[in-house]
């Protein structure tokens, strides 16, 4: 026992730890908020100044306009740039992008749900690891490499065309490609191709939050629902879906906003018509119209704001 005694024998309060570290520990113990402040300061500075600050600077840019003759930005507050944004081709770009983002999100949600459901309910041990690997593996390889790989897959000489030919189903592919608007010369230069690649690239971001939400639904709620007389369909609609909705909405925020902002996929795969991201890229680069580029980048922010408000109204976050 004596060997274990520290400081004064028989004292009920142990001696303070010496040095600066000891003093610091005591100070943090007495003022826990100090430690919290110290931990939060760097990320808050980063998010507050570098991120929100530049976002505000961008927002301000959109209220300036470019002088048509000189091509110089005039720093007078005006709504002229927004007027320009909501006309003709620019409006088409916005509508095209939003429609694509909505379709990609909906399709991702429909494809992701069964996969996420299987992973959350049935996969155990080795299969669960396999699931995570399968979902995450595409995220480990370069985004550009994947997109160029898809360009080859979808090209006229690519494997998709070849498979349809081998199965004597070339007429099906031709029929799909001859559809107005979504079709084209080959999948790699059609909206359909852009859509397929968007869904492929963003799918993991839909699966993972959906799976996390489903994992948190206790199994006995499903049993309770059946016990009270609900068919599996009713249970899905009235219990499973409402409880998984926050996860699906979280996933859809990813797929929706990532599609809204992407400028590489539509440039490499698809028709030559622009999406918002490409318009931003072109306006601030070659065209040198920074105010219009800024106005374009405000669009996804506003749309996401509306989207989240509607989702909240519909009770998507009630189960959080």
């Amino acid at each position: 026992m004596t060997a274990l005694t520290v400081g004064k024998p028989h004292s009920s309060i142990l001696a303070g730890r010496g040095g600066f570290a000891g003093a610091l520990s005591d100070a943090f113990w007495r003022h826990p908020k100090l430690l919290l402040l110290l931990m939060l300061a760097p990320p808050l500075l980063w998010l507050g100044i570098i991120y929100v600050g530049s976002l505000l600077a961008l927002l301000m840019q959109s209220f300036f306009a470019i002088d048509d003759f000189s091509g110089v930005v005039s720093y007078e507050p005006t709504l002229a740039t927004y007027g320009q944004l909501l006309t003709g081709t620019n409006l088409d770009i916005i509508l095209r992008t939003v429609l694509m983002a909505a379709l990609v999100t909906l399709t991702s949600a429909i494809i992701a749900f069964p996969i996420a459901y299987y992973a959350a309910r049935y996969a155990k041990g080795r299969w669960k690891a396999f699931f995570y690997l399968g979902v995450m593996l595409p995220l480990w390889s370069s985004y550009l490499v994947k997109i160029y790989a898809w360009k080859l897959i979808l090209a006229k000489e690519g494997i998709v065309t070849w498979i349809f030919a081998k199965l004597n189903l070339s007429f099906v592919l031709d029929a799909i490609l001859s559809l107005p608007v979504v079709g084209g010369n080959s999948l790699s230069v059609s909206y359909l191709g852009t859509f397929l690649v968007f869904v492929y690239v963003w799918l993991p971001y839909m699966i993972l939050p959906t799976q996390a939400a489903l994992e948190r639904v206790p199994r006995n709620l499903i049993e309770a629902s059946a016990d009270l007389g609900a068919t599996p369909r009713q249970t899905f609609r009235t219990v499973l879906l409402p409880l998984a909705l926050p996860g699906i909405v979280a996933g859809s925020i990813f797929t929706f906003s990532l599609t809204l902002g992407d400028y590489i996929i539509p440039q490499i795969i698809g028709s030559s018509r622009l999406f918002i991201g490409q318009a931003v890229y072109a306006q601030q680069g070659t065209a040198g119209n920074v105010p219009l580029a800024a106005a374009f980048s405000v669009v996804p922010i506003v749309i996401m704001g509306i989207y989240l408000t509607v989702a909240k109204r519909l009770g998507a976050f009630d189960a959080l």
Partner: protein
């Protein structure tokens, strides 16, 4: 009399694990039936077989004379009160209670009225607008009960219904459940590992062990005449007397049980040493050493209590010795 629930040689195996193995069960209509056993004894699996969450690997199940194998839970007129209540967190209390009626297509006005009545029955009137998360454990338990009973089930299943409540609430709920069952006349089947709960509430008890029923009968029967050491040990605080001790006491060479309240301190009889004294309020329990076997003796209130370490002499009447079926 028709049986509410009938099991004939029912088994449920999970791979090599025989969760339920060849169980015969007969629950009478309107009966308060308890399935008692330690965890892993198969009692909960039996309840899940009645609810339809599990299907038997072998055997035959009837609910009020109708075959239940292969019938999904949502087509059984049987409702369950789950151990952790399983209330829907995204619905308020009224919608939770009305859920069963909603999925069966009962109109909004009618089902809300029924749900309100059910909440009144469990003494929670006016709680409908709240969320499950805002209620205490005891209140959630009542909501779960209302949610099941509003469907007017033929059989109500209760899975460890009082396990999560504190002692005082548990005793109160025991009485309420019992009077509710008497008033409604619905067959209650409840699962518990608490022998006090089973004995105090049930009309009949089935004691489970290792996937089978080891004894069935009235609470009095099971308490007074346990068939085996397992039942005596699990159900009561009965004293177990090994065959050797029985021989030295002049009895047969068999395992026997002796209830603590049947033992008296006397001036004649086998001598034992007091090892511990516990004051229980209504009685005092002595732990004594008799031929190296520990026995409990229940002394009524007011009796003279010997000191720890004091020698005492024990007496009991011969009919209180109950021999069991176990091999010596």
């Amino acid at each position: 009399m028709t049986s509410a629930v009938l099991f004939r040689k029912v088994s449920r195996h999970f791979g090599p694990v025989r969760a339920v193995d060849g169980v015969d069960l007969d629950v009478g209509a309107g009966e308060f039936f308890a399935m008692l056993g330690p965890s892993g004894s198969g009692k909960t699996t039996c309840l899940r077989l009645i609810a339809g969450f599990e299907q038997p690997t072998a055997g035959h199940i009837e609910i009020f004379g109708e075959r239940a194998e292969g019938v999904p839970p949502y087509r059984r007129n049987v409702n369950t009160v789950f151990q952790d209540y399983a209330l829907f967190p995204h619905l308020n209390i009224l919608d939770n209670v009305a859920y069963g009626l909603m999925v069966k297509g009962v109109g909004e006005v009618e089902r809300m009225k029924a749900a309100e009545q059910a909440l009144e029955m469990v003494k929670l009137p006016g709680y409908g607008r709240r969320r499950p998360g805002q209620l205490s454990g005891g209140q959630r338990q009542r909501v779960a009960l209302a949610r099941a009973l509003v469907n007017k089930p033929k059989v109500l299943l209760l899975d460890e219904p009082l396990g999560a409540l504190d002692l005082k609430l548990r005793e109160q709920m025991q009485e309420e459940l019992k009077s509710l069952q008497r008033a409604l006349g619905i067959t209650f089947v409840f699962v518990t590992h608490d022998q006090g709960e089973a004995l105090s509430m049930a009309d009949r008890v089935a004691v489970f062990n290792n996937g089978g029923i080891v004894q069935q009968g009235s609470p009095q029967d099971i308490y007074r005449r346990p068939k085996s050491r397992f039942v005596a040990d699990f159900v009561g605080s009965s004293n177990l007397l090994p065959p050797d001790v029985m021989v030295s006491l002049g009895g047969e060479r068999r395992w026997a049980s002796l209830r603590p309240e049947a033992v008296r301190l006397a001036s004649e009889g086998p001598e034992a040493l007091v090892e511990n004294v516990s004051f229980l309020g209504s009685a005092t329990r002595l732990a004594v050493d008799l031929h190296r076997t520990r026995l409990h003796v229940m002394l009524p209130a007011g009796a003279e209590v010997p000191a720890v370490g004091a020698p005492v002499r024990l007496a009991w009447s011969a009919e209180d010795i109950h021999y069991m079926d176990d091999a010596a």
